[in-house]
C-alpha cells in the first residue's frame, strides 16, 4: 500500500483558486487529492515538489501538514475497517491520497452509517478523483444517496454518469421506490427503454415494486405482460410483486384470484403476503382463509391462541327493526378544500351534534360569520386543539385559563368532550369545569 501526503494542497486550495491555476499550467493533473494508485504506474510524488515554495511561509497550516508528513502515515484502509469514517474523510481533506479500495470501503461505510453529510463530502472527493467516471463507484454512490433518503442527489449522480451499467438503472429505479416515489422510478424505466437498455428479470422486479409503491395497478399489469416480449419468464419474485401491487391498491379479491391463476407453485410466500394485506385492509374472512392455507402448507406457522372469528350476521330483513337500524342518510360531500385543522375538522361534527355558535359573546361590531370565526379562536379552544393533537386518545386534558370561560366556549367544550371521548378539565378564574360526555360538572351554572 502506497500512501502519499500531498502537503499543503488542501490548505492551498482553501486559500484560493489562484494557486490551482498555476498548477494547471504545468502538467500536473488537476485532481490532486486522490492520486492514481500504484497500479496505474504514475509517479505520485510529483505534486509535492510542485508546490511553489514561496507560498509555504504564508500558510500556517502548512507546517502542520509537513509535520504530518513525518508522522506515521495512517492506513486509510485500516481506518475504514475500523469504521472511522470521519477520520478518513478528515485525512483525505488534508490531502491523503486514497486508492480505489479506500473509495469502495468508504462508500460501504457511508452506506452503513447513512450519514448524508459524510456521503456528500465523500462525493466531493470522488468527483475530483480519477475514479469519478468509474461505473461501480457511481452505482454505489447512487445506492448510498437513495439509502440516505436523498434521491435528488442520487439522480444527479445518475444523470452525470457517462456510462451506465444495468445496475445503475436498477439502483435508480429501486432508489425511487424505496423513497416512496414509485412514479419517478417508472419514468426512469421509461428512459431506460428509450435508451435501449434491454431490461432483465431484476429490472422487472424493481419496476413492479415501483408500481406497487405507486399503486399503479393497470400499469403494473402492462409491465408484467410486457415481460414476455423481452423473453423473460416471470419468476416467483415477479408474482409476489404483482400481489404486492394489488394488495397495496386494496384489491384483495383480485389478488386472491391472481394467486389462484399463477402457474408455478408459490408456496407459503404468496399466502403470507395475502394474509398480511388482509390484515392491513381488515378483511377478516380472507385473513382466516389465507391463514388456514398457510398452516396447511406449513404447520409450524400455526398461531396457537388465535381468537376465533366472530360469526357473520346477516339480517333476513332489516326493517323488522325500524328504529335500531335507522339509517342516517347523508349526502356525500367531502370538503376537500377545507383546511383540516383540528378545530376546523371538529366544527362540522360539533354542528351536527347540535352546536350553534352563540355570537352574543362576540362584542365587536362585525358580521355574523366573522363572529363565529372569532369564537373559534378563544384561547381555551386553541389550548384544547393543541392538547388533542399532542396526546394519545382518551387522556384527560387539563386547561387553565385566567379569565372566565365564555358561554359559547362552555357549550362548545361540552359537545367536544363527547365527540373526542375525553374528560376536559378547564379551570377559569372562578372554578373548575369538568366536561365529560357532553356534560359539565358545574351544571351550567357558574
Amino acid at each position: 500500500m502506497e500512501l502519499q501526503l500531498h502537503a499543503s494542497m488542501g490548505s492551498i486550495l482553501r486559500a484560493g483558486n489562484s494557486i490551482v491555476l498555476t498548477h494547471s499550467s504545468s502538467s500536473v493533473p488537476f485532481c490532486t487529492y486522490a492520486m492514481p494508485d500504484a497500479s496505474r504506474g504514475r509517479n505520485t510524488n510529483r505534486s509535492t515538489h510542485k508546490i511553489p515554495p514561496l507560498r509555504k511561509g504564508n500558510h500556517p497550516k502548512l507546517k502542520l501538514d509537513n509535520q504530518n508528513k513525518n508522522a506515521p502515515i495512517p492506513d486509510l484502509i485500516a481506518l475504514c475497517e475500523e469504521g472511522n469514517l470521519d477520520q478518513v474523510l478528515e485525512l483525505m481533506g488534508r490531502g491523503a491520497v486514497a486508492d480505489y479500495r479506500v473509495y469502495l470501503a468508504l462508500l460501504n461505510l457511508c452506506d452503513n452509517t447513512r450519514r448524508l453529510e459524510s456521503g456528500k463530502r465523500f462525493h466531493e472527493f470522488l468527483r475530483r478523483s480519477t475514479f469519478r467516471e468509474d461505473v461501480e463507484l457511481n452505482n454505489r454512490l447512487i445506492g448510498m444517496y437513495s439509502k440516505c433518503g436523498s434521491v435528488k442527489d442520487a439522480r444527479q449522480v445518475f444523470d452525470q454518469m457517462c456510462h451506465r451499467s444495468i445496475a445503475s438503472w436498477h439502483l435508480m429505479i429501486g432508489g425511487y421506490t424505496a423513497n416512496g416515489l414509485g412514479r419517478d422510478g417508472l419514468l426512469v424505466f421509461q428512459l431506460m427503454k428509450q435508451a435501449r437498455v434491454p431490461p432483465d428479470g431484476e429490472t422487472f422486479e424493481l419496476v413492479l415494486a415501483a408500481c406497487a409503491q405507486a399503486e399503479a395497478v393497470e400499469e403494473g399489469f402492462l409491465h408484467f405482460e410486457s415481460m414476455q416480449e423481452y423473453g423473460i419468464l416471470p419468476s416467483m419474485e415477479h408474482y409476489l410483486e404483482v400481489i404486492n401491487i394489488l394488495g397495496n391498491a386494496g384489491q384483495l379479491n383480485e389478488a386472491e384470484k391472481f394467486i389462484e391463476k399463477i402457474p408455478i407453485e408459490l408456496g407459503v410466500e404468496a399466502w403470507k403476503s395475502l394474509l398480511n394485506f388482509a390484515q392491513i385492509h381488515g378483511e377478516l374472512d380472507l385473513e382466516d382463509h389465507a391463514e388456514e392455507l398457510l398452516t396447511c402448507l406449513d404447520p409450524s406457522k400455526a398461531i396457537a391462541d388465535k381468537l376465533p372469528t366472530p360469526p357473520r350476521k346477516k339480517q333476513s330483513d332489516i326493517n323488522m327493526l325500524e328504529e335500531k337500524n335507522r339509517l342516517t342518510e347523508y349526502r356525500y360531500s367531502v370538503q376537500y378544500k377545507e383546511t383540516h385543522e383540528k378545530l376546523g375538522g371538529l366544527s362540522g361534527q360539533m354542528r351536527e351534534a347540535g352546536y350553534v355558535p352563540d355570537t352574543r359573546y362576540v362584542l365587536h361590531d362585525i358580521d355574523e360569520e366573522e363572529k363565529e370565526k372569532a369564537l373559534q379562536y378563544h384561547s381555551e379552544r386553541l389550548a384544547i386543539a393543541y392538547g388533542l393533537i399532542s396526546t394519545p386518545p382518551r387522556t384527560t386534558l387539563r386547561i387553565i385559563k385566567n379569565l372566565r370561560i365564555c358561554g359559547d366556549c362552555h357549550s362548545a367544550i361540552k359537545i367536544m368532550s363527547k365527540i373526542v371521548g375525553r374528560e376536559l378539565i378547564v379551570r377559569d378564574n372562578k372554578r373548575f369545569h369538568h366536561f365529560r360526555d357532553g356534560k359539565c360538572s358545574c351544571g351550567d351554572y357558574w
Binding site: R183, C296, R422
Partner: protein
Amino acid sequence: MMALSKVTYFTHLRAVVNPGRYPPSTVSLRLLSFSSPEEAAAERRRRKRQLRMEPPLSALNRNQTAPKPQSTPYYLNPNNPKLPEHVSALTGNRLNLHNRILTLIRENDLDEAALYTRHSIYSNCRPTIFTINAVLTALLRQSRYSDLLSLHRFITQAGVVPNIITHNLVFQTYLDCRKPDTALEHYKQFLNDAPMNPSPTTYHILIKGLVDNNKLERAMEIKAEMDSRGFAPDPLVYHYLMLGHARVSDGDGVLSLYEQLRDSLGDVVEDGVVFGCLMKGYFIKGMEKEAMECYQEALVKKKMSAVGYNSVLDALSKNGRFDEALKLFDRMMKEHEPPKKLSVNLGSFNVIVDGYCGEGRFKEAMQVFRKMGEYRCSPDTLSFNNLIERLCDNGMLVEAEEVCGEMEGKGVSPDEFTYGLLMDACFRENRADDAAGYFRKMVDSGLRPNLAVYNRLVEGLVKVGKIDEAKDFFELMVKKLKMDVASYQFMMKVLSDAGRLDGMIQIVDTLLDDGGVDFDEEFQEFVKGELRKEGREEELTKLMEEKERLKAEAKAKEAEAAEAAKRSARAAVASLLPSKLFGSKETDSESKPEGETQALNQEESTNATVPEAEFAEKRAETEGDGTSDQVTTA
C-alpha cells in the same frame, strides 16, 4: 433524454478547455453551476410525470372543459383532491393502533373498536384509513349499517381521505340496505370527485347489488360503463347479470349475455361460473336438451368454483332435475377439500335443503341440514329461517321447533323473522299460548318486532278470546312501536265489544299522550260511537279537555323555564360588559329559530326511513326463494 444530452455537453466542454487534460477546477465549479439547468430539467421531468400519471377520471373530465396548466406537483396544489394514505403509512404507533383495533374486532367488541377509532381521530395518533376500513368491514359483516354510516360520516368530516375500499364498503352498505339509488348517487359522486379509479371489486359490488335490488337495467348500464373503461370482461359480472335476467324469466337476455361474454373472451369461456345461469336461460326457453348438454360440458371441461357449482345446482333442482342435482352435490362434497379447494359452501346446502323440501322429503332435508357442520359450513339465521319456514308451511311445527332449538347450539340467534314464523304456525295449530310465548321471548331477547307481527299476534289472541293477554301485549308494545290508527282502533273495538269501556278510555288516554297518531275527527267519532253504546260519550270530551289543560300547563311551565334561562344568560353577559354593547336583541332572537329548524330537519331525516319498512315487509314474505338466491351467489 435530458440526462444524456447533458453528459455529452459536459464532455464537449472538457475537450474545448483543455484537450487531453483533466479539466481545471473552474470547469469543475461551472459543473456545479449546472445544477440550476439540472434542476430545471428535473422540474420538466416532474411535469412530464404529472402528465403521464394515471389521471383520476375526474381530472380527465375537468381537463376537457377547462385545461389548466399543471406546473406544481400534484400534492402541492391544494385544489387537488387529497390522495388516500399509502400502505407505508401503517407503521409505528399507527400500526400498534391498527393491531389493537383488529384484536377488538376479533373479540367482537365492535362498539369499542368503533369508539376507539373515533376517539383516536382527535389525538396524537390518527388512525390510518386502513384501520377505519377494518372497523367498517367488521360492522358490515354484522349488518350494523347505521353504525357503519355514522362512523364513515365521522371520518369524512374529520378529513380522513377514504380509499377505494372505503368507497366499496359504502356502496355495499347502501345496496345491502336496499337503497340502490343512494348507492348510485354515491357512485356518481365518487367518479366525479375521488382521485382514484373504481376497482373490479367496485363493479362486482354494484352490479350484484343492483341485480339483487331488482334494478337490472341500471346494472346493465354499469356493465356498459365498465366495458367502456377498458376493464377485461369478467365472468362473475356476467354471472350476476345473467342471474338477474333469469330471475325475471328473460331467457333471451341470458343467452345474449353469454354470447357476448364468449365473443369477448375469444370463443372459450374457461370460468364455469356462468354455466348455471346459462342452464337456467335454456330451461326458461324450454330448451331442456341444450341445458343438459351445457351441464355435461360444464362438469367435464370447466373450472368450477363453489359459486359456479351452486348456480348449476340451483338450475337443476328448480327445474325438476333434483336427482341430477343430488348426484352433483355428492361430487361436490367429494371434491371439497378445505382449505385448498372449496367446492361446497353454505349456499350449496341451502339449495339442496330447499330442493328436498320442495320434493316433500323433509326428513332428508333436516339430515342434510345437520350434516353441514362436517363440511365446515355453519348455517346462518337465513338458512335456519328458510328451513323453519318450509317446515311450518307444511304443518311440521314440532320439527320446526326442534330445528329452532338447535340454533343456539350453533351460535346463531333467532331473529324477528324466525319468531314471526313460529308464532304464526302456533296460531295455525291452535296453540295461542305458545304463540304468545314466542312473541314475548322475542321481545325479551331484545329483538324488535314490527307492527305487522304485533297485529297478527293481537288478532290471533283475540280470535281465541284471550282479550286480557292481548291488552297486556298492547300495553307492552305501545311504548316500543309506533302504533297506527288501525292498531289503536282494533284494540279499542275489542275492549268495547267486551264491554270494557274503562279500558278503552285508558287507551284513549295513552293515545293522547302518544302524539304520534293524529286523533282526528273521524277517530273521535269512532270512539264516541263506541262510548255511545253505554251513553258515556261525554267522557271523551272531558278527557280531552283535561288533557288540553295539562298540556297548556306544561307549556307555560316550559316557557317560563326558557325565559328564566334566557334571563340568566343575559345577566351573565351583562355582568361581563358595559351595557351599550349588549343592546341588540336581534341577534338573540335570530339565532334561536335557526337552532330549532335544524333540530326539525334532523327529526325529518330520521323519519324519512319509515316508508322503507313496508317495502321490506313485502320482501320478507317472498323471503323463501329470495334466501336461496341470495346465499347462492354470496
